[in-house]
């Protein structure tokens, strides 16, 4: 292996690692706020990628119907809850606006945009707008009703949601794979390295997204409220933070980050309805190394996962997934040896 190959693999690894970092951060965020280990994060990436690629191909993405269906389901849950506790007209109107009117408006807008010859900029915005509401809808339907269940029950529910989303992905997107054109045709020559414009876009967007999340959590009141919910749920309720809203917000942010990651990788690899799972699992490995708590550690681990993956696909390409997922074992052993065992609280 000469230095050119080494540098090439390193660059490839960092590019993938940047996307895994976004996924890992989203998984940590959801876990911190809601205690859900969100296995289906990868599906949101796949849906983002498929939506963007289909829009770029001038077609109407199935996401419009998927989002509308989930919104309707979320509204049905709100309606049922409201019937059992007494109807609050204002709450129901708000729910109808978010769960019914929003997807309807998105459907109308997407219908106008699809095939009308808009550029990537508009397609990116539409993709983000279509996939992001899926986060709160999924939270409302699958997790909010069992918000105080054990971590294990929430995890099993997450696995169920993953299976359901893969099936729905097949229904709404079909079995064919799609790939989007690159976001930038530029290539940069750095000594022996050719850095593609797409890689540069991935680095820039990842850094910007991480910066924006940092700003949100450190400076914005709502960001602090999410952080507070993660640190102490009872404390958060005592100051009047509605934990269900915090959960919906966390899922919305995670879906936004997922859709963004999908847009970033759509030009790099061919995406099928079930591609998300393996990508999501790599973000999950990074999140586990970060103990589902540390954002910086997760980001660093994600880069390591990307680099290990790049090298193992060069050295032993058949075993590359095995090698990546085996990374988790020494980390778990080390954690269980160095950290005192803590019983799950509340």
């Amino acid at each position: 292996m000469d230095s050119t190959i080494l540098l090439f693999l390193l660059q490839d690894g960092i590019t993938n690692g940047a996307v895994y970092a976004l996924l890992g951060i989203a998984i940590v965020l959801i876990f911190a706020v809601t205690r859900v280990i969100f296995i289906p994060q990868g599906e949101l990436v796949a849906f983002g990628a498929l939506t963007y690629a289909l829009l770029e191909a001038g077609r109407l993405p199935g996401t419009v119907w998927l989002t509308a269906a989930f919104g309707a389901l979320a509204f049905a849950f709100d309606l049922a809850a409201s019937l059992s506790t007494g109807i609050d007209a204002r709450k129901l109107a708000r729910s109808a606006g978010f769960n019914l009117a929003l997807p309807a408006a998105l459907l109308a807008v997407t219908h106008e945009v699809a095939g009308a010859g808009f550029g990537p900029g508009v397609h990116i915005l539409v993709t983000l707008a279509l996939v992001t509401p899926l986060g709160p809808y999924i939270y409302r339907v699958a997790f909010q009703p069992i918000a105080s269940a054990s971590i294990l029950a929430l995890l099993i529910t997450a696995v169920g949601v993953h299976l359901a989303l893969v099936g729905l992905g097949l229904v709404f997107f079909g079995a064919e794979g799609v790939r989007a054109p690159s976001l930038s045709e530029l290539t940069l020559e750095l000594g022996p390295l050719l850095v593609s414009g797409q890689s540069l876009v991935i680095y820039a967007v990842t850094l910007l997204a991480i910066g924006a999340l940092w700003f949100f959590f450190e400076r914005a009141l709502w960001g602090k409220a999410l952080k507070a919910t993660a640190v102490n749920r009872l404390g958060a309720r005592l100051v009047g933070i509605r934990t269900t809203f915090a959960g919906a917000l966390a899922f919305g942010l995670a879906a936004l980050v997922g859709a963004l990651s999908g847009i970033l990788i759509a030009p790099v690899t061919t995406i099928y309805y079930d591609t998300g799972f393996l990508i999501g699992l790599k973000g999950f490995v990074a999140a586990i190394v970060g103990a589902l708590a540390s954002y910086p550690l997760t980001a660093v681990a994600a880069l390591a996962v990307g680099i290990v993956e790049a090298f193992s696909s060069f050295v032993a390409s058949d075993l590359k997934e095995v090698i990546v997922f085996m990374l988790i074992i020494p980390v778990l052993v080390w954690r269980s040896l160095t950290q005192p065992h803590v019983e799950e609280e509340d």
């Binding site: 506790t85 602090k224 404390g235 309720r237």
Partner: protein, 250 residues
């Protein structure tokens, strides 16, 4: 069943803030509180004293909505709150400083306080923050420090400051003196008296019966989940049973 936010006819006197009537509270099948009643009027300090495990904290947690009522009624400002969530009671002006403080330990003192005003308009929260810093100068000195690194007394002050940031009408304090040095306990009780002077009503649960009876207007004694004795604090402080059980050898 919908909950009507109507005013109860007998609350017209308007001085009653919190009215708990024959409340029973259970953990699963175990009844921790059985038929307890108490009222807190505007501007009053009401205390509940009793031994460890008598159900005092349980009663406060139920008043805040962290535990459901198994039986009985609960109104706040004449409005039935017995089925409202914690967050909704906060919005009405109820606030609890729990025994374990429940601070945001990995966040700064100032962030804890700012979040305390989460429900309050921004401008009001800014003024209230200045008031809280005046009341607890120690918190101002330490505003950049992480809440989890402070001493027990400072954490208690931060918990009280955070509760005050929400501009509560009724502040419920669960064992504010627990585990604190006597000098700090005196500080805490001085602050409680100050708070009442500024118009906040207080429901105080304490094992330190002597300090609680000295500070309160009305007192209730809880034993084994029931309120067994109620009356003006000054009267209870001279009651033989209270002296024997709670004021004896401390």
């Amino acid at each position: 069943m919908s909950v009507e936010p109507g005013i109860r006819p007998d609350a017209v006197e308007a001085t009653v803030l919190l009215d708990i009537a024959s409340a029973s509270i259970a953990y699963g099948k175990v009844r921790a509180v059985e038929g307890a009643s108490l009222r807190v009027g505007a501007g009053e300090i009401v205390t509940v004293i009793g031994a460890n495990g008598a159900g005092k904290s349980t009663l406060l947690n139920a008043a805040m909505g962290a535990l459901p009522l198994a039986a009985g009624a609960m109104t706040f400002l004449g409005r039935d709150v017995s089925r409202l969530a914690v967050e909704e009671r906060v919005a009405l002006g109820l606030s609890l400083v729990p025994e374990r403080r429940e601070l945001f330990s990995t966040m700064s003192v100032e962030d804890n306080l700012v979040l305390g005003g989460f429900r309050v308009a921004r401008a009001v929260a800014r003024d209230t923050l200045a008031e809280v810093y005046d009341r607890f100068p120690r918190l101002k000195e330490r505003r950049r420090q992480l809440a989890g690194t402070m001493s027990g007394g400072e954490r208690q002050m931060l918990a009280m400051g955070r509760a005050l940031m929400g501009r509560p009408k009724l502040l419920m304090l669960d064992e504010p003196s627990l585990g604190l040095a006597p000098r700090i306990v005196a500080d805490i009780f001085r602050i409680i008296a100050d708070l009442r002077a500024s118009g906040v009503s207080i429901l105080l649960v304490e094992q330190n019966a002597r300090a609680a009876l000295a500070a309160a207007d009305v007192a209730h004694v809880m034993e084994l989940g029931a309120v067994t004795l109620s009356g003006p604090a000054a009267v209870l402080a001279r009651d033989e049973r209270v002296i024997e059980s709670y004021l004896g050898l401390h």
